[in-house]
């Protein structure tokens, strides 16, 4: 096997380093040895594929998928975007899983101790698979900011967590989406694990007034970029590449 089809090396200066003392939990959970660089083998260039059949009709509707007695409280929003690779090609068939706090900033989780109320109609999880152009969308309510035990007065900005499966295990990614205009983004010890301001900005979804739903929901656009793969310039292209 040549370099053909292997993934561009991850830019570790664009990602957060393992050890980020301002985010205290990272201190004991960060490897001290350097990572061992390994050119992709087939073990990394392959990965699980999920069919559209795993997705239920309400999986991408967090307003409805846990509702018991009515709609959840909060600002209704649409989040949409595309999953692309570093070559700017769409990634079809990517499984996205997302989770978030409710409008008050409270997660539905037994270890959660924040006193904001649980919303009986909001579960806080959803998923979607991208179409042929790499597009996805879901409907939810805007999550609230919440305090967390790190410094004595640290708050997370409003955010939605994303887990993304591309076509290969090497592309596996978990990240978070933030909201345009939120001043708390720049005060967050977890956001600031990312060293480069432009990299942080890549995680801030843009408010899109053109795609709001009239008298219903605001829209935010959030594109996600997964690692791209090499194609050997003087050979036939690999399938799907």
């Amino acid at each position: 096997m040549s370099d053909h089809g292997s993934f561009f090396q991850r830019d570790r200066s664009w990602h957060p380093p393992a050890l980020t003392p301002q985010y205290k939990t990272s201190v004991l959970r960060s490897p001290r040895y350097p990572l061992l660089s390994l050119e992709n083998t087939i073990s990394e260039m392959t990965g699980p594929v999920f069919g559209h059949d795993v997705i239920g009709p309400l999986d991408n509707d967090l307003i409805r998928n846990y509702a018991k007695t009515g709609d959840p409280i909060g600002q209704r929003i649409i989040v949409y975007g595309r999953v692309l690779d570093e070559n700017a090609r769409p990634v079809p068939g990517a499984l996205l899983e997302f989770w978030q706090a409710n409008a008050g900033g409270r997660y539905r989780h037994k270890k959660e101790t924040y006193l904001a109320a649980i919303d009986p109609n909001f579960g806080g999880c959803g998923r979607a698979i991208t179409d042929q152009e790499g597009r996805y969308s879901f409907r939810t309510i805007k999550p609230g900011a919440y305090p967390w035990p790190n410094g004595v007065n640290d708050w997370r900005p409003a955010h939605i967590h994303f887990s993304v499966f591309g076509h290969a295990f090497a592309q596996r990614l978990i990240t978070q989406m933030y909201f345009e205009g939120d001043p708390m983004i720049w005060q967050c010890p977890i956001v600031s694990t990312i060293p480069d301001k432009a990299a942080v900005e890549q995680l801030i979804a843009a408010l899109d007034r053109n795609n709001t739903i009239h008298m219903d929901a605001l829209a935010y656009k959030f594109d996600i970029v997964l690692r791209g793969r090499r194609s050997t310039l003087f050979e036939n292209r690999m399938e799907g590449n």
């Binding site: 001290r32 990572l35 239920g56 309400l58």
Partner: protein, 208 residues
């Protein structure tokens, strides 16, 4: 100024946080009725070909405390060494084995336990056979970018000795961090793969 290459940047990683299970294994944290089954909990069906094995272990932080909130994913070849993936060009993998598993570690003990099959050998880039292995991906609160490692099998000494990936490890004393010893439990071969994020015997993690 020069021309622009036009590549996009990969979206930067952020920690999975303490509530990763809400989005990945909601039923496991009692968010039921959204979707029926958590993905990845079961790897093997009665039709799956290959030797049944148990892979278990814990993840320890730099103080030696087991993580109770981590999520582990594994990815492996089938019994013949084929991946169930569209990128697999060498043949068709066992249709009864996806080869991907996902599990939260136990909230009380920190243990994980996968019931799977022993994978076959797959080739390195130059065609030499790698020793049988299972790829691990670990996320948790406090881990900013998911960690990749590999579990090798303690009873594959000859294959391990010639594995081109294991040969890359300069500090031979660290090799043992990737090799899970084999025992028997309830008649099943059981491999214990303890992962140490930091400190003495820190596991080898890969930049793949």
């Amino acid at each position: 100024m020069v021309q622009k290459l036009g590549h996009l940047k990969e979206s930067p990683s952020q920690t999975a946080g303490p509530y990763v299970h809400i989005g990945t294994t909601p039923n496991w944290v009692e968010i039921t009725g959204v979707w029926k089954d958590d993905l990845g909990l079961v790897l093997v069906s009665p039709d799956t070909k290959g030797e049944r094995i148990i892979v278990k272990g814990r993840i320890f932080d730099g103080s030696g405390t087991p993580l109770k909130d981590a999520l582990i994913e594994i990815w492996q070849a089938d019994a013949k060494g084929l991946y169930n993936s569209p990128q697999e060009r060498r043949g068709r993998a066992d249709p009864h084995f996806v080869g991907w598993g996902r599990q939260p570690v136990d909230g009380a003990t920190g243990e994980f336990r996968f019931e799977t099959i022993k994978p076959g050998r797959v080739p390195f880039r130059d065609g030499r056979a790698m020793a049988p292995h299972i790829t691990f991906w670990i996320v948790a609160r406090g881990i900013n970018t998911g960690l990749h490692t590999r579990m090798y099998f303690g009873d594959e000494e000859a294959a391990n000795a010639e594995c081109p990936v294991l040969a890359r490890i300069e500090h031979k004393i660290r090799l043992s961090t990737l090799v899970a010893p084999r025992t028997e439990e309830n008649g099943l071969p059981t491999y214990t793969f303890d992962i140490r994020l930091q400190g003495e015997n820190e596991t080898v993690f890969f930049d793949i």
